[in-house]
Symmetry: C2
Subunit: 219 residues, 2 copies
DNA sequence: AATTTTTATTAGATTCATCTAAATACTATA
DNA sequence: TATAGTATTTAGATGAATCTAATAAAAATT
């Protein structure tokens, strides 16, 4: 059984190593954890003894298979809770992390399972990040801008490029947000503008500039 | 800011003192916390320094005003989460406490407020215990068995006496649970059985044995 | 290649929450 | 009221997570 703190270190190592791809150095981890490098050294040693990380002195650290699984479980909880906070409790994006970082450490498989069910087994969190499944599998869906998908494609909005306030306001106004289902129904050759149906209800036309900044995941 | 453990001690002292009425001795608290009496002495000293409890050596301990407020806040969170678990996630009564005891320590006024709203500002938890308000006020509603209320009375089921599986199953079958609104429409003098209307929909007859074990709060 | 700079680790303390064992205060009984 | 028994507290340790200061290793620079 890992402590809250150990779980947080593991999650940070997972993120900084980009899912285990490259090893993480002590100072980067110290900065991420807002703690002293010496504390990081201590903790890494402990996690290493628990076989949660692969570690050699002065060589950086990375998650082990076991540690990666654990990290993905915490990330799963984090993202599922975020969905709950946004969809059920109307949280704003900037209020999410503080609370989700507490909720992600609740230890109850039953709670997680029921919550997942209650939310309709979401695949993406409100930021468009994929939710790992119970086995730690990250179905890393391709995210494509609308401009690169053929007419007829249907998918879920999983993210946006750029985040100017005016762009987000526009999306909000036309009723597009993370999780919205879009179908591409037509594309005008002369200017690249696209007709999309939003959640199967209304169809609107978006400019190419907008289309290339909305990321869809086919599903 | 109190730690999880400190919050749990405070809650235990609040409960064992019956809301601050009588002082709590070390051994009782040690048993409640499943810890050694010596550890309790240590912790009480710490809580005393933080002015959360009133304490004199060898004289037992009790919550201070500050501590009582804090305890009631934790209890509020505990009970609101329980409502969520039962009403939204279909938890069974016996699965509740383990999870609620984790959730009660989440620190986020916004979360609590939104959750309370999401649940429709419940006044009682699924065990029929009252939920303290934001100011720590416990609207201690009288709980009366149906047998002691006059015909015509309407109220909410806030608890049951005893908890034999067969009794609970019976209640479930006829559609009575915590929160159900009942109106007493008739009482048979010869055997004490009672006709009650359930949620304004259907009327059934319950035996006196059943009636004396269902607790109503007039409202 | 030698030296400086950066990065990482160890050493030694501190705080929290716990423990066991020993000492002390209170309570009840003979 | 002295004593036996129980309840409570102190003393001294331990493990987790942290800190600062000092040391050691690696990397970069001259």
């Amino acid at each position: 059984m890992l402590s809250f703190v150990e779980e947080n270190y593991l999650k940070a190592i997972y993120h900084l190593s980009e899912g285990g791809k490259r090893s993480v150095n002590t100072n980067a981890l110290a900065e991420e954890m807002k703690t002293a490098p010496a504390s990081v050294s201590d903790m890494i040693k402990r996690l290493s003894e628990k076989k949660m990380v692969d570690y050699q002195k002065y060589r950086g650290v990375n998650v082990s298979e076991k540690g990666k699984f654990k990290a993905l479980h915490v990330i799963r909880q984090h993202r599922i809770w975020k969905v709950f906070l946004v969809e059920k409790l109307n949280f704003q994006w900037d209020q999410l992390d503080e609370v989700a970082e507490q909720l992600e450490h609740i230890k109850s498989p039953l709670l997680l399972q029921r919550l997942d069910e209650f939310l309709g087994f979401p695949k993406f969190d409100p930021h468009g990040d994929p939710i790992p499944d119970e086995n730690g599998q990250l179905i890393e869906k391709r995210k494509d801008p609308i401009t690169q998908l053929p007419v007829g494609t249907s998918g879920i909005v999983v993210g946006v490029n750029g985040s100017s306030a005016s762009f987000l306001k526009y999306l909000d106004k036309v009723g597009i947000s993370i999780g919205t289902r879009l179908q591409i129904v037509d594309r005008m050759e002369f200017d690249g503008s696209v007709d999309v149906t939003i959640d199967g209800k209304k169809t609107i036309t978006i400019s190419m500039a907008v289309a290339e900044n909305i990321l869809l995941s086919e599903a």
